[in-house]
């Protein structure tokens, strides 16, 4: 998710390698230069203001709601962002690589779940990491649990859910997610059955690229099966 990528997305883009052959001075294509978030913001604000002018009574109701949400955001957003910043500096990605795949059976599943909850970057940096660990012989169940936890259980985001959805809703959903993700991983592994080679081969240069992007050193030789 793009909300907890600090500098990761920049790094990921650097390693994307899709800008090959372009001199650094060349402008990126127009599609990439447009700030879609600003476009979206402008359109929605223009629509809101226009409609409010046409229908003043509905507009005042919309205005009240907007003000309520602005207030709530002011009280919660800085805290969530600071917490993400603290995680970014105190939790090294090394930790994830070091412990993921450690422990077998139930313990391994729980470790995968816990490591997934650490806000250490957007989902797409977790894919190559999981792929390479799978190649190294990590359990399919552990990787499914890890990726799912990485995608949907992020500690700072739970705070947003508490704030906007209430404690009962947030805690119940969190509890059910944690409880169901592990059996889901085990079921996925059962259905997976390695008929073909699990994951494609990685060449060493590619492994190096991911290591640089993640700022970690992957254990052992992941380039060959």
């Amino acid at each position: 998710m793009s909300e907890n990528d600090t500098d990761d997305d920049k790094k990921a883009r650097v390693t994307d390698g899709d800008s090959s052959g372009q001199p650094p001075s060349a402008k990126p294509p127009l599609r990439k230069r447009i700030r879609w978030d600003y476009v979206f913001l402008t359109l929605s604000v223009v629509a809101l203001v226009t409609l409010s002018l046409i229908f003043p009574d509905k507009g005042s109701r919309a205005g009240k709601v907007v003000w309520e949400y602005v207030k709530e955001m002011i009280f919660i957003l800085p805290a969530v962002m600071v917490l993400m910043g603290l995680f970014a500096v105190w939790v090294e990605r090394d930790l994830v690589v070091k412990y993921l795949g450690k422990g077998s059976g139930g313990k391994g599943l729980v470790i995968a779940l816990l490591l997934g909850t650490l806000p250490t970057g957007p989902l797409y940096v977790a894919f190559p990491l999981a792929a390479m660990l799978l190649k190294k012989g990590a359990r399919v169940a552990n990787m499914v649990v890890f990726l799912s936890a990485w995608a949907c259980i992020k500690l700072p985001l739970e705070l947003m859910e508490f704030q906007f959805m209430g404690w009962r809703f947030a805690l119940l959903r969190l509890g059910l997610t944690v409880a169901l993700v592990i059996p889901m991983g085990v079921l996925a592994e059962r259905l997976y059955r390695r008929r073909e080679p699990a994951v494609r081969d990685f060449d060493p240069a590619e492994v190096k690229e991911v290591e640089v992007a993640l700022g970690v050193e992957l254990p052992g030789d992941v380039s060959s099966g």
Binding site: T6, L51, V66, V82, L123, M143, M165, L176, A188, V199
Partner: protein, 161 residues
């Protein structure tokens, strides 16, 4: 200012003080990261608030209720789960949107399904997931996630009813 946000603010403030006591430079870096992330997310946050204003102010609640309302049962849940799976809305701004839909008459089950598929299933990430982990792995993970999201939603509907 709600009790929840006070608790959260105090909690994070405590973490910040502990971090500051342990390492000043790292804490400075953390605040810088937080500042940059806020700056980057700012436009999206403001845009989603404007969208919430549009939804609450100008969309008749009965439209929402007739699509994903509580009495729509499993159909509402499926619609919401499907929307959550294909839309790409960062979770950070999805929660306020979800809460406004709830106020507009959307069902608890549908909203739970929406949030769960929104975060767990990344339709736009699917090609990347397939490329890195293989078709079988990616489709299994995303497919089972969809079923899990429905299960979570149904249990939440029973418990919170």
């Amino acid at each position: 200012m709600s009790v929840t946000s006070i608790v959260i603010d105090v909690l994070v403030a405590v973490c910040l003080v502990i971090s500051l006591a342990k390492n000043k430079d790292k804490t400075k870096l953390a605040l810088k990261i937080a500042y940059n992330a806020t700056k980057r997310m700012g436009p999206s946050v403001l845009a989603i608030i404007a969208v919430i204003g549009l939804i609450v102010g100008f969309i008749p609640p009965k439209w929402i209720a007739s699509a994903i309302g509580g009495d729509r049962g499993i159909f509402g849940v499926l619609i919401a789960a499907f929307l959550g799976a294909i839309l790409f809305i960062p979770a950070l701004i999805a929660f306020p949107l979800a809460s406004s839909l709830l106020q507009m008459g959307a069902g608890t089950m549908a909203i739970a399904a929406f949030i769960t598929t929104l975060t767990m299933i990344g339709f736009i990430f699917l090609p990347l997931e397939i490329k890195e982990l293989g078709k079988r792995f990616a489709l299994l993970r995303n497919g089972l996630s969809f079923l899990v999201a429905i299960a979570i939603a149904l249990i939440m509907g029973l418990v919170l009813a």
